[in-house]
């Protein structure tokens, strides 16, 4: 027994046993652990910030997708319609028609004697008569007889969303605590209800005193038109520039100069592009102010460097052996680029383009300078003519709403931010999916 152990184990443990970490290794491992901890901390801070941002926007903005409405039976005869249209204050006449409907409704709910009709009318939005007029104008068969859903006043809406309290109402000239109690009664009677607010996405911007009627419709169309202009201009110009610089241009002082300038353009503050757009497109070329066309042109200038840099990077990443193969077969430069290089670079180009578009979609500063910051209450017409009609854009709408004094607009602005973030998220997901779909290995 003792012989066997003596033979199988070394007499003295060697100085450098693998089971024991020496000091250098210990220090190295400790450094590695510390570095990992720094990384995790950084990620933790980043994620926390993101969660705070998103949750604050969501908590303030989600309520803008719900709105308080008053449902009333409305009857308009042809004679009443013609009389209203012939009068000077058209909406005043329609207001009378709404009041008739409201009285009728209160009577059926057996509230007619309890409340003052003036207080009850005060619960409705100032937008209600205008909405009724639009419906009457669009109406074909008379008499118009319909259950109408009118917007409630922004203060009443705020009461149901918990923003407006009795104490606030006492100090407010536009709503009284009695009216809030009345609105509670109406809600109990089923006349007033809070439901999904499609108008937030489709309506035009409301006047500063009517936050309940404010919607993103015009901003939405304006952003869409601008993105169309940017895509139609920036993608072909950007890709053509990159192909020329990367594949065809000789490498000399001039192309170096162009390259440096393109990289510099990417770093130019966006408001400078706005000044440029104001000076060149509006003052010099005479294009209309506030038009998505001008906005699109300015954003194209801003997006071009992003697209060019992304496209050149993805052209560079195509292995040269593919170019050699095509050239060796007798393909011309153009054929090599269009048959082989461009398809392989397409995922990268698409990603770059979508990221550039997303950047342009969120850009505000240059649009302020070209006059897209306005109260626009008409939808722009269909393109191409609509490209010259006044419009706003999603980020500008956020800016407009945050500058208004009525606290109800804070909710609107947060709601618009949610819509904007949703679009950016969709575009980024599309970029990832496209890249996965078209990525090829060689």
């Amino acid at each position: 027994m003792s012989d066997a152990t003596a033979n199988s184990t070394p007499a003295t443990p060697s100085a450098s046993s693998l089971f024991k970490q020496d000091d250098r290794v210990k220090r190295r491992n400790a450094a590695e652990k510390r570095f990992k901890a720094y990384g995790l901390t950084a990620i933790g801070v980043g994620v926390t910030m993101l969660i705070i941002l998103v949750s604050s926007v969501l908590s303030q903005g989600l309520s803008s997708f719900r709105q308080t409405f008053v449902t009333l039976p409305i009857t308009v005869t042809q004679a009443e319609f013609e009389a209203a249209e012939a009068s000077m204050l058209k909406t005043g006449k329609y207001k009378k028609l709404i009041q008739r409907g409201l009285e009728q409704r209160l009577a059926t709910a057996e509230l007619g004697d309890v409340v003052s009709i003036k207080d009850a009318m005060g619960l409705l939005s100032g937008q209600a008569p205008a909405d009724l007029r639009m419906a009457a104008l669009a109406n074909q068969t008379w008499p118009l007889r319909q259950e109408f859903r009118f917007l409630a006043n922004g203060r009443v809406d705020g009461y149901f969303k918990g923003r407006v309290t009795m104490e606030i109402a006492e100090r407010d000239s536009r709503i009284s605590p009695e009216q809030l109690e009345l609105s509670q009664q109406l809600a109990d009677a089923g006349i007033m209800e809070t439901r999904f607010n499609r108008g937030f996405l489709t309506r035009t911007d409301g006047s500063p005193t009517r936050p309940e009627a404010a919607g993103l419709g015009v901003a939405f169309l304006g952003s869409l038109y601008m993105m169309m202009v940017v895509l139609a201009l920036a993608l072909p110009i950007g890709v053509a520039t990159s192909i020329y610089l990367e594949e065809l241009a000789p490498k000399n002082r001039w192309t170096d100069l162009i390259e440096v300038n393109i990289s510099n353009l990417a770093a130019v503050p966006s408001i400078v592009f706005g000044i440029l757009g104001l000076a060149i497109f509006i003052n010099f070329a005479g294009l209309p102010q506030s038009a998505p066309l001008v906005g699109g042109l300015v954003l194209t200038l801003m997006t071009l460097p992003t697209i060019i840099i992304a496209t050149r990077a993805s052209l560079k990443s195509v292995p040269p052996s593919i170019r050699d193969a095509a050239l060796g077969l007798g393909a011309s430069k153009m054929q090599t680029v269009f048959h082989h290089v461009l398809p392989l670079a397409a995922p990268g180009i698409l990603t770059g383009t979508i990221i550039g578009l997303a950047q342009a979609l969120g850009e505000t500063a240059p649009l302020l300078l070209i006059g897209m910051v306005a109260l626009v209450q008409n939808y722009p017409s269909a393109p191409p003519a609509g490209l010259e009609d006044p419009a706003t854009a999603l980020p500008v709408q956020v800016y407009i709403w945050t500058t208004r004094s009525d606290p109800a607009f804070v909710e609107r602005a947060s709601g618009a931010i949610i819509v904007l973030l949703a679009f950016l998220l969709i575009m980024n997901i599309a970029a990832i999916l496209l890249r996965r779909r078209f990525e090829r290995r060689w």
Partner: protein, 265 residues
């Protein structure tokens, strides 16, 4: 070197295909090829051997003007293909490369189907008038590259999914499909295992019946196995150019002898 089949082969023709006279190549200030004068015969395999960096690949790439794609590269001297100067101003390199095909060191199939890989050349040069003609060209090219039997059932599969040896044969089929007159091969077997190498070498010997083949190789055994003529390059100079048999058995220049016996390179 018992696998040298030096006696088996004879040159079929003495007709000249490519004549190079006093060719100089500069990469910027670097004089890469100095005074190379060489005659390449039709229906012959000519091997370029020499140590790394001696300029054999550079010279090969001059023969179909692939060096044009390198901005700083400058070629002087005369290279005649069938008595026409290929560096003449009137020559379009695209047309030249259709006549002088090339196979590269690393197999580089397009990331497309096997069929599209082979059909690409004929398509861009308008060699086929109909789908059936194109099918025919693809089949004969793949047969000529000894690949048809292995891929005939999966022509629509991606060319990049084949094994290394198959990929290289696909590249040869692709080069053959444009019916070139000269086929340039830049170390076509350096990325292949011995079995694939043997297949490609056999293929080169077959191809000789239709084209003039120029092959750059690191392996002296390969040069000895496949070529009829051998050129030895050293430091940008053409040291010796003669029948393969002569180069390997009785070289005139001491540098050639040192190289083939393994003392330099």
């Amino acid at each position: 070197m018992n696998d040298m089949r030096l006696t088996e082969r004879a040159v079929d023709t003495n007709q000249l295909k490519i004549t190079a006279r006093d060719v100089q190549v500069f990469y910027g200030d670097n004089h890469a090829i100095k005074d190379v004068t060489v005659d390449i015969q039709d229906k012959t395999v000519t091997a370029f051997i020499g140590p790394s960096g001696c300029g054999k690949s550079t010279f090969l790439r001059c023969l179909n003007r692939m060096n044009d794609t390198i901005d700083i590269c400058r070629v002087e001297g005369k290279i005649l293909l069938d008595d026409e100067d290929i560096y003449d101003k009137r020559v379009d390199p695209v047309q030249l490369r259709a006549k002088v095909g090339m196979v590269f060191q690393k197999p580089n199939p397009f990331p497309k189907s096997i069929y599209d890989n082979v059909a690409y050349g004929p398509k861009i040069h308008g060699l086929a008038r109909s789908k059936t003609e194109l099918d025919e060209i693809v089949e004969t090219s793949l047969r000529r590259a000894a690949l048809w039997d292995e891929v005939k059932d999966r022509l629509t599969a991606p060319g990049t999914g084949l094994s290394g040896g198959q990929q290289q044969r696909l590249c040869i089929a692709r080069a053959v499909a444009t019916s070139p007159e000269v086929l340039l091969m830049d170390e076509p077997c350096s990325a292949l295992d011995p079995i694939a190498t043997a297949q490609v070498e056999e293929l080169i010997d077959d191809l000789r019946s239709r084209f003039s083949v120029v092959i750059v190789t690191h392996s002296m055994q390969q040069a000895a196995r496949v070529s009829q003529k051998t050129a030895f390059f050293h430091l940008g100079n053409l040291v010796e150019f003669d029948d393969t048999t002569k180069i390997f058995t009785n070289p005139e220049d001491p540098r050639t002898e040192s190289y083939i016996t393994g003392r330099i390179g």
